[in-house]
């Protein structure tokens, strides 16, 4: 038994041999995990940048340029997601899910924001996933012929969490729109946000825990948007007329406030 204590001898004991295998396995796994975290962080940063960029649409007359630039940025993000898919090839994706979920959620947020700005509707999970199909590069194909296509599937949870965060951006967009004198957008946004809010309250606490946590923020965002629409309505209700000192005498002549908004 004394020999087992000896370090040099130790190295050839079955225990040490087994642990060297474990070391290998753990390191491989950790390294992959780290790479995924890094990719996720890059995706997050680039998605956030896209969102920042998209907020500029409220302050410029022509949005084409911005939307094009956002497309390009998101293409880059999708390439990164392709790298994630590459890393996950043959893996149990849930094993590494925690490593890349923040990035994916942020991507969902960015891509659904862009979609909303273009289409004024909620992008579906299918639509998102449809754009996450990747062709393998030549080199890889050479190695193992056959499956040339690689897909990445956003989970419903990540989709939900991304959409929950989207509402925050929509709220910001609404506030900025008001700030920039855009009248239509806030009302459209409040309608849309209310639908999402109702959707989330329909799901309630049956979804993942993180969703319930975000419900409060979502409700606050909705409140802010509703307040903004309210403000627009009451301010819009006033007649564009110089010096309103005499407004009370001509009160009966008030036009239908509904018109003031359009």
């Amino acid at each position: 038994t004394d020999a087992a204590q000896d370090e040099s001898a130790n190295t050839c004991s079955p225990v040490m041999a087994a642990f060297k295998v474990f070391q290998q396995e753990l390191d491989v796994k950790h390294d992959k995990y780290e790479r995924l975290v890094k990719l996720s962080r890059d995706i997050t940063i680039e998605s956030k940048r896209t969102i920042f960029l998209l907020h500029r649409v409220t302050s410029v007359p022509d949005t084409t340029e911005i939307l094009k630039e956002a497309d390009t940025k998101l293409d880059g993000v999708r390439q990164k997601i392709g790298q994630i898919a590459e890393e996950l090839r043959g893996e149990d994706i849930y094993q590494f899910h925690r490593a890349y979920t923040p990035g994916i959620q942020e991507y969902v947020e960015a891509v659904s924001f862009l979609h909303y700005i273009r289409q004024r509707s909620l992008i579906s999970l299918e639509e998102i996933n449809a754009r996450l199909v990747f062709m393998r590069s030549e080199k890889d194909v050479a190695e193992s012929a056959g499956a040339q296509v690689l897909t990445f599937q956003v989970t419903p949870s990540d989709y939900l969490l991304g959409v929950a965060d989207l509402t925050g951006e929509l709220m910001r967009m609404c506030i900025s729109s008001v700030g920039n004198g855009d009248i239509d957008t806030p009302f459209q946004l409040s309608q849309f946000l209310r639908q999402i809010h109702d959707g989330f309250s329909y799901i309630g606490n049956t979804g993942p825990y993180e969703v319930s946590k975000k419900l409060h923020t979502l409700r606050q965002s909705l409140g802010k948007v509703e307040d903004a629409c309210y403000t627009l309505r009451v301010r819009g209700s006033e007649i564009p007329k110089h010096m309103l000192a005499d407004v009370f005498s001509s009160r009966t002549a008030l036009i239908d406030p509904e018109e003031g908004v359009v």
Binding site: D198, G223, V234, P257
Partner: protein, 227 residues
């Protein structure tokens, strides 16, 4: 009785308890689902288009309360009635939500405060503890306070929808509610905290009325509005 026997015997108790809780949880889960459905129906009143449909929506909600009553009836069968408070925490949340929903429907229908008796009837439960599964005063009040906060939202959205009359009526209603609560001697409990939120609702609605007043939009309601 040996220690082993005794612990085996005790395990029986614990199992039964756990099973009861499991049963209760299941019914409560379904109940929450129904409550969420009613909420979805009622939330449409915040839509500009939803204002005309209020009677419609209330009717639909009333129908869904049938389901609520069925589920609560089912819940009652899951435990001996004298142990109501043992399992109270399990349904407290959904019960308060249901009170809120009932109170909201009644307000939308008649602009009046639902009484505890009415709520109990809508939910198919008792007011008096001794009679069976009942509605605690605290839970009733909590539900009413949730409604108050929903009404402050409604006041805002009414204006957006072009209804300048409703906020004034809501303001009066909320003020009355506030006076009522001021009669109560609340302890430092969750209810007290919720009540502190009422102040913000009152203020919020007052600001809506202010905005309408300063623009001369509130006047027209004086003639037509009010109860």
């Amino acid at each position: 009785m040996s220690v082993t026997e005794m612990f085996g015997y005790i395990q029986g108790f614990l199992d039964a308890d756990q099973e009861t809780r499991e049963d209760i949880r299941k019914v409560v889960q379904i109940l929450e689902q129904t409550a969420r459905e009613i909420l979805t129906v009622l939330q449409s009143v915040h839509q500009p288009s939803g204002f005309k449909e209020i009677p419609n929506k209330c009717a639909k909600a009333r129908e869904l309360f049938c389901t609520v009553r069925t589920h609560i009836a089912d819940l009652k069968t899951k435990f001996p009635m004298e142990q109501y408070y043992r399992f109270h925490e399990h349904w407290r949340f959904v019960l308060q939500r249901s009170v809120f929903l009932a109170a909201f429907v009644v307000y939308l229908e008649s602009e009046a405060l639902v009484t505890r008796e009415e709520v109990a009837k809508i939910l198919g439960i008792e007011v008096v503890r001794e009679r069976g599964f009942h509605l605690d005063v605290e839970d009733y009040l909590a539900g009413v306070l949730i409604m108050a906060s929903e009404l402050s939202r409604l006041a805002v959205n009414s204006v957006t929808a072009g209804d300048y009359n409703r906020p004034l009526r809501i303001s009066n209603f909320i003020n009355e509610l506030d006076s009522g609560f001021r009669l109560l001697n609340l302890k430092n409990d969750p209810l007290r905290k919720r009540y502190d939120g009422l102040k913000y609702d009152v203020k919020k609605i007052e600001e809506v009325v202010y905005d309408l007043s300063i623009r001369g939009l509130a006047k027209e309601s004086e003639s037509g509005g009010g109860k």
